[in-house]
Symmetry: C2
């Protein structure tokens, strides 16, 4: 800030410096990511007789939890003297990489499979000035190429194999503990690539070992039924779910996620697309518009409620990983026929609305 | 929170209670709106030899500054015993009204002109469970009907004629002062309906009179050239600009906006669509993705810079009113042809990327 006073939230690298690999030479990179709302879910809490909170990660600068890891990864790339970061992504990762690269004065290169995605999904990355390269091949091929070209070209990979990503993502666990003054009893979280559940667990363990909290939550992760590799115990070749952000058939952090669930006394389970769609509406009823994939956490909570597995009075946090504005089409599609058409005279409108009171 | 500890940002009604019409009987409504990032614009600050900050209102729960006024308006509607809120809106207002109505347990009714807007623009309101009524008539007719039916049907109007809206919007000025530890020297802000510039000025005056700051900023508001009613001194019948959120030909808070600019030693001016598009890219270069209309503030700053009207070392805040995710199409359209297509073999990709280092 060039010597000016700044009394607001300083961003993750400054706020949680002692828990992160931040050194004197790490750039003070921030878009004031993190510090996302922990919203008390009033309807759900009453219905389930628990204290249910929604950790709304869609309030991050680029609209998803990816910003937590990306600020760390891009700062370390700059610290290492890199001028370009590269990743293969068609979604939230590309938006976050492009934003932090722009902020850091670096170039971002985004590899996507040619013809695979609508360019609209990449609006953010494009606007932030990323270079978009469409590969004739599938997504896996794009990721392979990223791994092959990064070193010879001197670029830093910011896909999930970058270890700084998970270190940065731990901070969401810190925030939850800071706001509640304790660790929750249970954390519910969508599982796609399985990195986020692993990072939360690292975070809760780190805070526990530092003496900031006296307990750790049970970790419950939920895959989409059509992409439930961990639950089924084998990679899914053609994963299918409308919750695109968790449509992943071979999670990169598979072992870490299983470890988090097992060690904490939690579980990895799956939820159906119908359950996700239903939870997506429950979340909106609380006033929150999240990405469909985000709703997997609440869908999992409802599933365990139906199974009679919740303890009355539990403090539960459900992670909502992304902003609903990332995927407005799903909202419209699931709502069906939404607008009624009425003549523009007073009598007609009064008649139509009379039943609304 | 039902008696649980909560140490995070409590939302606007709690945080700024003493400056707002919050009583014992006002519902403690919140989605933890406000507390939005004040982002130091590093590139712009260096280029203009000023301290330039971006107040990123897109980080609010529904993605725009409207949440500040809506939380106040909906809380007061509930306090007054209303069960339904109603507004005519095709954009940010409808999203915010629907979200806070859902949160408060009220029904929201949104009137839109039939055939006028793509339903995609209403994805948020739909998802939050608002009742959407399409009127055979134009937008002005929809607004007229809102005014006519609200009282007989016992509904609360939450369009900008609701006085609580501006009172809530003051809080953005409070936050800026709190974070900087002082008032900025100048505030730059887009002007559409002219309510927001009026609300910021009320906020700065209130903080000044309370002794929280020792000065007030000069207020610079910017209309789009094709919708510059205040600058031209007469309503515009068919306002035109790609910055849809400020495409308004007859601002509701016209007089208040002129008062804010005049009293503070500022001005209301206009910027062209080309200037807005150019500023939209400048903002992205800082790592922020805002709605096109948001860029009118930065476009105005660049205009005054070209005119030699800035003072070196000034502390300037530019308000970015909404999230770029509200209008991804503009990002794609303005970027033009964005993806290069390359064969999926190592040599081809190396050759294409070799020039990126």
């Amino acid at each position: 800030m060039d010597g000016q006073t700044y009394r607001g939230w300083p961003g993750l690298l400054a706020q949680y410096r002692s828990f992160l690999p931040v050194t004197e030479s790490t750039p003070r990179l921030t878009l004031h990511e993190g510090n996302t709302p922990l919203i008390y879910a009033e309807v759900l809490s009453e219905q389930l007789d628990c204290h249910v909170y929604l950790k709304f990660e869609g309030a991050n600068p680029t609209g998803s939890f990816k910003d937590r890891g990306m600020v760390m990864a891009v700062a370390k790339a700059k610290e290492a003297g890199k001028q370009t970061v590269i990743c293969a992504s068609t979604g939230n990762t590309s938006a976050s990489a492009a934003a932090y690269a722009a902020r850091a004065g670096l170039q971002a290169v985004i590899l996507i499979p040619h013809g695979y995605v609508a360019l609209g999904k990449l609006a953010q990355a494009v606007q932030y000035g990323a270079r978009i390269v469409a590969i004739r091949g599938n997504f896996d091929r794009a990721l392979e190429i990223v791994r092959e070209v990064a070193e010879p070209l001197g670029m830093e990979i910011v896909n999930s194999i970058n270890p700084y990503r998970l270190l940065g993502q731990q901070t969401a666990a810190f925030e939850i503990c800071d706001v509640l003054g304790r660790a929750p009893d249970a954390l519910y979280i969508p599982v796609g690539n399985a990195g986020n559940i692993s990072a939360y667990w690292m975070g809760f363990e780190a805070y526990y070992h530092a003496g900031h909290v006296q307990s750790k939550p049970r970790m419950f992760g939920f895959e989409a039924e059509g992409a439930a590799a961990i639950v089924r115990g084998e990679p899914i070749t053609s994963p299918e779910t409308f919750a695109t952000a968790i449509r992943i058939g071979n999670p990169a952090s598979w072992d870490k996620a299983v470890h988090a669930a097992d060690t904490s006394g939690g579980a990895i389970d799956f939820v159906t697309d119908d359950e996700i769609a239903s939870a997506y509406r429950l979340i909106a009823r609380e006033g929150v518009f999240a990405e469909p994939a985000s709703a997997a956490s609440v869908a999992g909570l409802m599933k365990r409620h139906r199974q009679g597995s919740l303890t009355p009075g539990e403090t539960i946090v459900c992670v909502l990983t992304g902003n609903g504005l990332k995927d407005p089409d799903s909202a419209i599609r699931l709502a069906g026929d939404t607008a009624e058409v009425v003549d523009g005279d007073l009598q007609s409108v009064m008649a139509a609305l009379g039943g609304t009171r």
